[in-house]
């Protein structure tokens, strides 16, 4: 069956910059970010809503961008890993992942850091259990998670200071 589907005009603010594009409604947000805009920070790990490597913030909320259509983000404010550093300085969470060895191969890291940002936005001084609960939607096949938990703890301490 051939259906002629109209492209949709969308305007999305990404990392503070407004982007206007015409997209097919079925285009996933992750593909919009990576293939249309060239923002390859958010990764595709599983493409089945499980691993969290594609996590970005939409209007301040962590979502899996492989499980959202770009048209659903029309008018929204999106923050990707590329938008975290400012004036060449890493965000405290990025710094903490660096210092605490929260990344090995780095594949999960952009999603981990965005989920960590969501966690610390909602709870500035989480317990170890709360950190593990808050990162349940993000899989890491390298670190065994302990260094990631340490990184989030360290970031929380620095950001609170």
């Amino acid at each position: 069956m051939m259906i002629a589907i109209m492209r949709r005009a969308i305007a999305v603010t990404i990392n503070g910059k407004r982007h206007s594009n015409e997209v097919e409604p079925r285009l996933l947000l992750i593909h919009y970010l990576r293939d249309v805009l060239g923002l390859t920070g958010p990764h595709i790990g599983c493409e089945t809503s499980i691993c969290g490597a594609c996590t970005v913030l939409v209007n301040g909320k962590a979502i899996k961008s492989c499980t959202m259509f770009a048209v659903q983000a029309n008018g929204a404010d999106v923050l990707t890993i590329e938008g975290l550093a400012s004036d060449g300085n890493l965000h405290p969470i990025q710094n903490a992942f660096w210092e605490e060895h929260g990344a090995q191969c780095g594949y999960c890291t952009p999603g981990m850091i965005m989920a960590s940002k969501q966690l610390l936005d909602r709870n500035a001084s989480p317990t170890e259990e709360e950190i593990r609960h808050g990162l349940e939607g993000n899989l890491c096949r390298c670190t065994g998670y302990q260094h990631i938990v340490n990184a989030v703890k360290s970031a929380a301490a620095k950001m609170g200071a």
Binding site: E47, T48, K61, Q72
Partner: protein, 281 residues
């Protein structure tokens, strides 16, 4: 994993949404946490997607004459973090907090979850125990059905073609009521192998009212009336919980055989009953 092409429609009111959904080729989109994975796998291929998130008035959570009214578009996160729900209907907040992960709870909605009616979903156990009422709107008006009538079978509910869940109404818990939701989860998917919601009213340990909702055990959530009757006639939690498996045709899959599921149901029912009793004090 690219979905079949579709047209994307964004109604700005409930009547407009219902009008668009009168088209049999159209499907409602709420949080997309069940529908989008199915579309990517091409298990679902609607020609038109009607995004409900632009319809105003469907996300509110409010208290009205002894009940909490929860809009269909309230997300799992809205519900788990709502002060009103946590204080007045903690069982619902507890069930919401058990769903998937943060990212899923940020997007997924209560209306979408119950309309989808996955046999292992968390809300249905709680809504059965809460004797919730669900409002369903169609072009002809709105009707209210009980949770027991709402959940019909696996992926099958009382929602008819073109209709929408608009609200879920749950009781404000009276003093002396204790509740708990206990879930044995399948670690890879996060879904329940078995989940049991217990809601008890007790005075110095004597149970005067028991409501037990069960998910994951069979094709559809249900109320364990046998367990409730035993608890209300003074059986101890362990003995009453054992009755949960009576006459149930249990699911069997790669995660748990029917026999093991029935065993888990007894164990998790006892856990939920004990925790609810402790909370009733």
């Amino acid at each position: 994993m690219i979905a079949h092409p579709f047209d994307y429609l964004t109604p700005k009111s409930l009547p407009e949404a219902l009008l668009l959904l009168a088209d049999p080729d159209a499907k409602a989109l709420a949080g997309g946490m069940s529908l989008i994975p199915m579309m990517k796998l091409r298990l679902a291929a609607p020609a038109k997607l009607v995004d409900l998130r632009g319809v105003p008035g469907l996300t509110s959570i409010s208290e009205e004459s002894g009940r909490l009214k929860i809009g269909a578009l309230a997300t799992h996160f809205d519900i788990e973090s709502s002060r009103l729900v946590r204080a007045k209907c903690p069982l619902l907040a507890m069930a919401a907090a058990h769903i998937g992960d943060v990212q899923v709870r940020n997007m997924g909605t209560i209306g979408g979850s119950i309309a989808h009616a996955d046999p292992a979903a968390d809300y249905p156990a709680a809504l059965q125990a809460l004797e919730a009422t669900i409002s369903i709107a169609g072009v002809g008006g709105t009707r209210a059905v009980s949770a027991a009538e709402f959940f019909v079978d696996t992926f099958t509910t009382a929602v008819g073609p073109g209709e929408l869940v608009v609200e879920v109404s749950v009781p404000v818990e009276a003093a002396g009521t204790g509740t708990s939701y206990q879930k044995c989860l399948q670690p890879a998917s996060g879904f329940a192998i078995v989940g049991v919601a217990a809601r008890l009213q007790a005075v110095s340990g004597n149970i005067s009212m028991a409501r037990i909702g069960v998910t994951g055990l069979s094709g559809c959530s249900f109320r364990a009336n046998g367990v409730e009757a035993l608890l209300e006639s003074g059986s101890d939690p362990q003995a009453a919980a054992a009755a949960i498996a009576n006459g149930i045709d249990a699911n069997s899959d790669i995660h748990a055989s029917a026999e093991y599921r029935l065993h888990l149901a007894r164990v998790y029912a006892a856990k939920a009953i004990r925790a609810a009793l402790a909370a009733a004090r």
